[in-house]
């Protein structure tokens, strides 16, 4: 039982991080109907900005307090992400109002490659560290119940709590505020949203900024775990099966989907992996997503699309 729980908890923690990246996809898709391929690039870009500004700021203004430096770097990185949101709207999406989904997807693909390249030009292409003082030591839990207890990574625990809080706030924002309603309206129908006076451009800047914020948080958490490097952009690929599983339009779906993928890949690796000679963690998520596409194409919580003929 002990090893099982340990795997389960490890999976949940990883899953929470997948959820965080998936959340960025869902936010933008909900509010603009755009499948944002650049979400992974945004995570990398935000993490790079955070890591480098935390390095640069002390040399620029001679600040030595680590907490203050991190807070300042966070604020600057957030400003950078808002600027990215504004530029994306100005230069790309704003020109493509009312275009097909596939056109917008291609545009975000372009944005993704641009950000990958530009991010490394601007911030450098080495491996950088983000140190926000997350506790690194693992702790033991439930020692009285099991022999030896369960080993839990504190860092993962903090990350999971942050992710959960972020999700709750965003879900409430979408559901209960006027701006959230406007965001959902834009997602459903650009034309109609404009006709009732919703400013498309502003809505897009808002939602890309929020997605930038989510990317920043995800980037910091992943970055402090694994180091900030090019492969960070690739975690976004793991978020694809998550959104397929959870439904592209559902914030809770992104969370549950992330957890299922996280737990699924860890448990499968441990329990059915040996039958395949191991290494199934890498592709398990995609196979699961494939099965879901066959059975429930709209995902667990996605809006079921009923076409009237």
């Amino acid at each position: 039982m002990g090893p099982f729980l340990e795997t389960l908890i490890g999976g949940l923690m990883t899953g929470m991080l997948y959820s965080l990246v998936a959340l960025g996809f869902v936010l933008i898709f909900k509010a603009s109907g755009v499948f944002n391929f650049a979400q992974g690039a945004m995570v990398l870009f935000a993490a790079l900005a955070m890591a480098r500004f935390a390095e640069w700021i002390p040399t620029w203004i001679g600040l030595h307090n680590k907490l203050l430096t991190n807070m300042l770097a966070f604020a600057v990185a957030m400003l950078v992400m808002v600027a990215v949101a504004w530029l994306v709207e100005r230069l790309v999406l704003g020109k493509l109002v009312n275009q097909e989904g596939i056109t917008l997807l291609m545009a975000t693909l372009g944005v993704a490659y641009f950000m990958d390249g530009f991010g490394q030009t601007a911030f450098g292409s080495d491996i950088y560290k983000i140190d926000v003082g997350m506790p690194k030591d693992p702790i033991f839990m439930m020692e009285s119940t099991f022999q030896g207890g369960i080993l839990v990574n504190q860092e993962d625990l903090v990350a999971a709590v942050v992710a959960a809080a972020l999700v709750a706030v965003l879900a409430a924002f979408f559901q209960y505020t006027g701006t959230g309603r406007a965001l959902r309206a834009v997602a459903d129908d650009h034309q109609a949203a404009q006709s009732i006076g919703i400013p498309l451009n502003r809505i897009w800047v808002i939602v890309w900024s929020v997605a930038g914020f989510v990317a920043l948080v995800a980037g910091i958490i992943w970055g402090s775990k694994l180091g900030v490097q090019f492969s960070l952009g690739l975690v976004a690929l793991k978020a694809l099966p998550v959104v397929i599983l959870g439904g592209l339009t559902s914030v809770p779906g992104a969370i549950i989907g992330g957890l299922i993928i996280g737990v699924g890949e860890k448990l499968s690796e441990v329990y059915i992996g040996p039958a395949f000679g191991g290494g199934i963690e890498i592709w398990f998520a995609y196979v699961l997503a494939l099965v879901f596409l066959l059975v429930r194409p709209q995902g667990l919580f996605g809006e079921k699309i009923i076409d009237r003929v």
Binding site: T179, A185, D189, Q191, A192, Q194, S195, I196, G197
Partner: protein, 262 residues
């Protein structure tokens, strides 16, 4: 029929507008005006340019030539949002509702322009934002009562039958408290009963709120019954303009609708 409302001055004046898409001329040199509080119909065979004309007024299309004057303000390059801010609302021929949202939320989104609190006030649920939300909700509930869609207020609109969706579309436009309401075939695809209901709502809106109405409609019976004046289009040109009786008697209009005798 609509005795106790008085038709006022010209509120909307369309002057010599022409619109083409590449080599295709959708509208050629069209002029007409709409007076305050009147019900103005635009009719014509399929492809006559009715929706294009409405889209020009709504700012979706920008005509290459001509001007549109709304309450003394002339505009040429305006987008739908700016037009909405001036007090023009519209409904759509093929429904453009927010399908995943329920009826209340669809109507509430129509109040968007009236919301004064900003995103941060809303996100933090400050008292000002709360009060505003409640006030708008009251207004929306009145519209729901008016349109007799109380039982469906929490139903996602995508699940409602077509006739009711059309009503929600009208409701969302009404939530904007428009001065001019543009209706693009509000009765298309409805059965007789639904049409009667819709006619009643349109006339009530016109009567009770004094809203000026411009509508496109195919059903001649409906048009002749409810409109004060009618514009007739054919192949992007205006071929008739006047009261229903005048239009009905016009030889050009009869030709357009019935074809020429050979």
């Amino acid at each position: 029929m609509n005795n106790h409302r008085s038709i006022g001055d010209v509120v909307l004046d369309v002057k010599k507008i022409s619109l083409s898409f590449g080599g295709v001329k959708a509208l050629t040199d069209i002029s007409f005006d709409v007076r305050e509080h009147e019900v103005r119909a635009i009719i014509g065979p399929n492809g006559a340019g009715k929706s294009s004309l409405l889209n020009c007024i709504n700012g979706v299309y920008q005509p290459q030539q001509g001007t549109i004057t709304f309450r003394g303000q002339t505009f040429q390059h305006m987008n739908s949002r700016q037009v909405a801010e001036m007090g023009v609302a519209r409904t759509f021929q093929s429904l453009a509702l927010f399908k995943g949202m329920n009826v209340v939320d669809n109507l509430m989104s129509g109040r968007n322009l009236k919301m004064k609190t900003n995103i941060f006030q809303q996100a933090l649920r400050l008292p000002a934002a709360q009060r505003e939300e409640i006030a708008h909700r009251e207004f929306v509930e009145r519209i729901i009562d008016f349109l007799e869609i109380q039982p469906y207020r929490k139903t996602p609109v995508g699940r409602l039958p077509y006739g009711l969706q059309k009503r929600v579309d009208l409701g969302r436009a009404l939530a904007m408290e428009p001065q001019v309401l543009l209706l693009d075939e509000p009765m298309a695809g409805m059965n007789v009963e639904e049409k009667q209901d819709m006619c009643r709502f349109v006339l009530d809106v016109n009567d009770e709120f004094g809203t000026t109405i411009v509508l496109i409609e195919h059903d001649m019976g409906v048009v002749m019954d409810i409109s004060d004046r009618v514009v007739v289009l054919d192949y992007g040109r205006k071929i008739g303009d006047g009261t229903p009786q005048e239009v009905r008697a016009s030889p050009e209009v009869i030709t357009a609708y019935l074809g020429t005798a050979h």
